[in-house]
C-alpha cells in the first residue's frame, strides 16, 4: 500500500516534469537566444516583439516590469477580495453573541487567514505593483536591474497563497491554522490540545516563508534599480518622493524579512523535527515574541511608507502646489525607517518584561510619532491655500490623512505603558491598526489605483462611481473602527467569536460599517471591470491636466510618448499586435480612433 502510493506519486511527479519540459521545448521555438550579458536590463539587443508569445504565455513568461506590476496588482486585488469576504463572514457572526453561523474554530481560522492575507498577500504585493510599474518609469530606467529575479519574486506569491489557504481546501485531514497572524508559541509550536499540530499550520508557515523570500528578492531588486539604473537627469536631489519611500521600504524589508524567514524555519523545525528553540525549557515563551516583533513592527512601516509616498506624490498634483517641505518628508521617511527597529517591544509591554527596558521602548515609540507628524503637517500645508481639486484619488488622499491621524494618535496612546496595560489585547488595538492598515494604507492604495488607472488601462473610470466608493468607505471605515475603539475602552477582548451582551450594540455598529464598505467594494469592482472593458479611451497623455499647474511628471510623459508612438508607427506594428496580447492591441485600436 505504502509502496504503491510512493510509486504513484513518483509517476505523477515524473509526468509533471515531463509536461514542463515539453512546454519549455515548445517555448524555445518562438525564442531566439541572444545571450544577455549581465542578466540586467536590456531590450535593445534582446528579441523583438514578434517573438513575444501570445495570450497566456505572455503573462507566464514576462520579465517586463510593467507586466509584472500588473500581475502584482491583479494578485493583490484578488487577495484583498478574498480577505474582505472572510471578514464579512466574521462580522456577520459578530452581529449577535448567540450567532452560530460559524463554529468558534472556523472563526479563529478565518481570523488568522484574514490577517495574513491582508498583510502579506494584499499589502506587500499591491505596493510592489505600483513600485514595479512606476519606479523604472519615474527614474528613467529601461527596466528593473534584475528582470528575471523580478519575475521569480512574483511567481513565488501564488504558491505562497495556495499554501497559506491550504487548510480551507478539502485536502484530507488538513485543517486551517488558528494561530492568529502573530503565531505565538507555544500554541503555534503545536503544544496543547487543539488542532495546532495539524499540517495546515505547517503549510501556512511555508506559504508565509515563500512570501517573505519573494519580498526580499523584490527589495534587493528595487535597491539595485534605484541605486544603479537611474537616468542621467535623475539625481539624489530630484529623486521623486515615491521612489524614496520604496528605497527606504526595501531597506527595511532587507533586514526584517530574512529574520522572519529564519524564525519561521526554527518554528517548523520545532514542530516537525524535534528541535526545542521555542520549548518552555529552552527559548521559553518570550523568544518567539522578540523575534516576531523585531520583524513585526518594521513590517507595519514596510506597509505604510510607500502608501505615504503615494499620498506625498499624488496630493500635490491636485493641490496645484509642490509638496511642502519635500526635504523634510524625505528625512522623516528615513528617520521612521531607522527608528522602526527600536520599538518592537511595545507589543510586549504586558508580558512582564524588565520595566527599565520597557520604558526605553516607550520612549522610542513616542519619538517615532514625531516624523509621522512632520509628514502629516506637510501634507496639510501642501493643501493649504492650494487650488484643491477633489477628484477621486485626491479624496482618497485626504481620507488617508484623516484616518492616519486617528490611527497614529491611538498608536501614541498605546505606546504609553500605563495606557497599554489597560488596553492591550482589546478591540482598541484592533481599532488602532485598522485605522492605519485599512483607513490609511488601503486608501492610499486606492488613491494610486484611481490616479494611474488611465495609464494602466488606457481608459477612464466612471467618476461618480469613484466618489460613491470613496464616501461609502470613508464613512464605513470610520463607523467600524471607531466602534472598535469604543469597544476597546469598554474592555472587549480581541479575537473572540462571541461576546458578553453589553457589547452587542457597538458590535452591530461595527458590522454596519463593514456592510457599507462591502457595498462600496461592489461599486468599485463594477466600476473598474466595466471601465477597463469599455470605459472612454484616454485621448492625451495628461488626463489630469497636470500641465496647467506645471506638475507634469515622468511617468505620464512616458505614457504620452507611448500613445504617440502607437500613432506614428502603428502600421508596421501589425505583427506585434496579432500575437502581442491586449495592451498593444488596445494601444493600436486607440491610435486608429
Amino acid at each position: 500500500m505504502q509502496i504503491t502510493g510512493q510509486l504513484a506519486l513518483t509517476v505523477v511527479m515524473g509526468l509533471f516534469l515531463v509536461v514542463i519540459a515539453a512546454w519549455l521545448a515548445q517555448i524555445e521555438d518562438w525564442r531566439s537566444y541572444t545571450p544577455i550579458g549581465s542578466g540586467g536590463a536590456t531590450g535593445e539587443s534582446g528579441y523583438v516583439s514578434k517573438e513575444k508569445p501570445a495570450g497566456i504565455s505572455r503573462w507566464l513568461t514576462t520579465v517586463d516590469h510593467k507586466d509584472i506590476g500588473l500581475l502584482y496588482g491583479a494578485y493583490g486585488v484578488i487577495a484583498f477580495v478574498v480577505g474582505g469576504l472572510m471578514i464579512m463572514l466574521m462580522r456577520i457572526e459578530l452581529l449577535d453573541p448567540e450567532m452560530t453561523l460559524l463554529s468558534n474554530s472556523f472563526y479563529n481560522s478565518l481570523l488568522t487567514s484574514h490577517g495574513i492575507t491582508m498583510l502579506f498577500l494584499f499589502g506587500t504585493p499591491i505596493i510592489a505593483a505600483f513600485a514595479n510599474y512606476l519606479v523604472p518609469l519615474l527614474i528613467g530606467a529601461d527596466d528593473m536591474a534584475f528582470p528575471r529575479i523580478n519575475a521569480i519574486a512574483f511567481w513565488l506569491l501564488p504558491p505562497g497563497a495556495l499554501l497559506i489557504w491550504a487548510g480551507f481546501f478539502p485536502l484530507g485531514d488538513i485543517v486551517p491554522a488558528q494561530t492568529a497572524w502573530t503565531l505565538y508559541t507555544p500554541l503555534s509550536a503545536g503544544v496543547g490540545g487543539g488542532s495546532q499540530a495539524n499540517a495546515g499550520v505547517d503549510l501556512m508557515i511555508l506559504g508565509l516563508h515563500l512570501t517573505g523570500v519573494s519580498a526580499t528578492m523584490g527589495s534587493i531588486n528595487f535597491i539595485a534599480t534605484i541605486l544603479t539604473e537611474r537616468g542621467e537627469k535623475v539625481t539624489w536631489a530630484n529623486l521623486d518622493i515615491f521612489s524614496w519611500t520604496i528605497l527606504t521600504q526595501s531597506g527595511l524589508i532587507l533586514f526584517a524579512f530574512p529574520l522572519l524567514g529564519s524564525a519561521l524555519i526554527m518554528l517548523l523545525l520545532d514542530r516537525n523535527l524535534g528541535t526545542t528553540f521555542f520549548a518552555i525549557e529552552a527559548g521559553g515563551t518570550m523568544l518567539w515574541q522578540h523575534l516576531f516583533w523585531f520583524f513585526g513592527h518594521p513590517e507595519v512601516y514596510i506597509l505604510v511608507l510607500p502608501p505615504m509616498g503615494i499620498v506625498s506624490y499624488v496630493l500635490p498634483r491636485f493641490s496645484g502646489r509642490r509638496l511642502f517641505g519635500f526635504k523634510f518628508v524625505v528625512y522623516s521617511t528615513l528617520a521612521i525607517g531607522v527608528l522602526s527597529y527600536g520599538v518592537w517591544a511595545h507589543h510586549m509591554f504586558a508580558t512582564g518584561m524588565d520595566p527599565r527596558l520597557r520604558a526605553s521602548f516607550m520612549a522610542v515609540s513616542l519619538a517615532i510619532a514625531i516624523p509621522s507628524a512632520v509628514k502629516t503637517f506637510n501634507w496639510i500645508t501642501t493643501m493649504w491655500n492650494g487650488r484643491v481639486r477633489l477628484t477621486t484619488p485626491m479624496l482618497f488622499c485626504v481620507g488617508f490623512i484623516s484616518n492616519f491621524i486617528l490611527g497614529g494618535v491611538t498608536g501614541v496612546f498605546l505606546a504609553s505603558i500605563p495606557v497599554d496595560l489597560v488596553l492591550h489585547d482589546t478591540y482598541y488595538v484592533v481599532g488602532h491598526f485598522h485605522y492605519i492598515v485599512m483607513g490609511a494604507i488601503a486608501f492610499a492604495g486606492f488613491a494610486g489605483l484611481y490616479y494611474w488607472f488611465p495609464m494602466f488601462t488606457g481608459r477612464m473610470y466612471q467618476r461618480r462611481l469613484g466618489k460613491i466608493h470613496f464616501w461609502t468607505w470613508m464613512i464605513g471605515s470610520n463607523i467600524t473602527f471607531f466602534a472598535m475603539i469604543v469597544l476597546g475602552y469598554g474592555g472587549m477582548p480581541r479575537r473572540y467569536a462571541t461576546y458578553l451582551p453589553q457589547f452587542a450594540t457597538f458590535h452591530q455598529v461595527a458590522t454596519l460599517g463593514a456592510v457599507l464598505m462591502f457595498i462600496g467594494g461592489l461599486v468599485w469592482t463594477y466600476n473598474f471591470v466595466v471601465s477597463w472593458l469599455e470605459g472612454p479611451k484616454v485621448q492625451d497623455g495628461d488626463p489630469w491636466n497636470l500641465r496647467e499647474d506645471g506638475m507634469y511628471t515622468n511617468e505620464w510623459q512616458w505614457f504620452e510618448n507611448k500613445q504617440e508612438t502607437a500613432l506614428a508607427d502603428g502600421g508596421d506594428e501589425e505583427e506585434a499586435v496579432t500575437d502581442g496580447g491586449t495592451t498593444e492591441a488596445e494601444a493600436e485600436a486607440e491610435a486608429e480612433d
Partner: protein, 120 residues
C-alpha cells in the same frame, strides 16, 4: 528612455524560467519538510534545472552541464549532511542525494555526449 519612447513596448522581454524557479522552491520545501521522497526530488530537479536554464539564457553559462554539476555537488553535500551525520534525517537526505545524482548524470552525460553547439 526619453529618447526612445515606447521602447520597452516594442522590444518586450520574456523568459520561461522564472515561473519554474518559483514553482520548484515550494515543491522542494513541501517534499523535504513532510518527507515525501518523490515530491522532494521533483522539486529540487525543477528548481536546479530552471536556475540552470536561466544561467544559460542570460549568458552566464555556455552550456547547462557545468551548472548542473555544481548543483549536484551542492545537493550531495547537503543531502550527505542530513543522511550521514548526527542530524540523522536519513530519508530526507537520500531524497536530496537522489536529486543530486540525477543532476550529476545529466551534467556528466551532457558534457560527454552532447555535441558542442555553436555558441548562440
Amino acid at each position: 528612455m526619453d529618447e526612445q519612447p515606447g521602447l520597452s513596448d516594442q522590444y518586450r522581454r520574456a523568459s520561461p524560467w522564472p515561473l519554474f524557479v518559483a514553482l520548484g522552491i515550494p515543491i522542494a520545501e513541501v517534499g523535504i519538510l513532510f518527507d515525501v521522497f518523490a515530491v522532494a526530488v521533483a522539486g529540487l530537479l525543477l528548481f536546479c534545472g530552471s536556475v540552470t536554464g536561466m544561467l544559460r539564457e542570460s549568458g552566464y553559462a555556455e552550456t547547462p552541464w557545468r551548472p548542473l554539476g555544481a548543483f549536484a555537488i551542492l545537493l550531495f553535500v547537503v543531502g550527505g549532511t542530513l543522511a550521514f551525520t548526527d542530524v540523522n534525517l536519513v530519508t530526507r537526505g537520500y531524497a536530496i542525494i537522489t536529486a543530486g545524482g540525477l543532476l550529476a548524470a545529466a551534467g556528466i552525460g551532457g558534457e560527454l555526449f552532447v555535441p558542442k553547439r555553436e555558441a548562440v
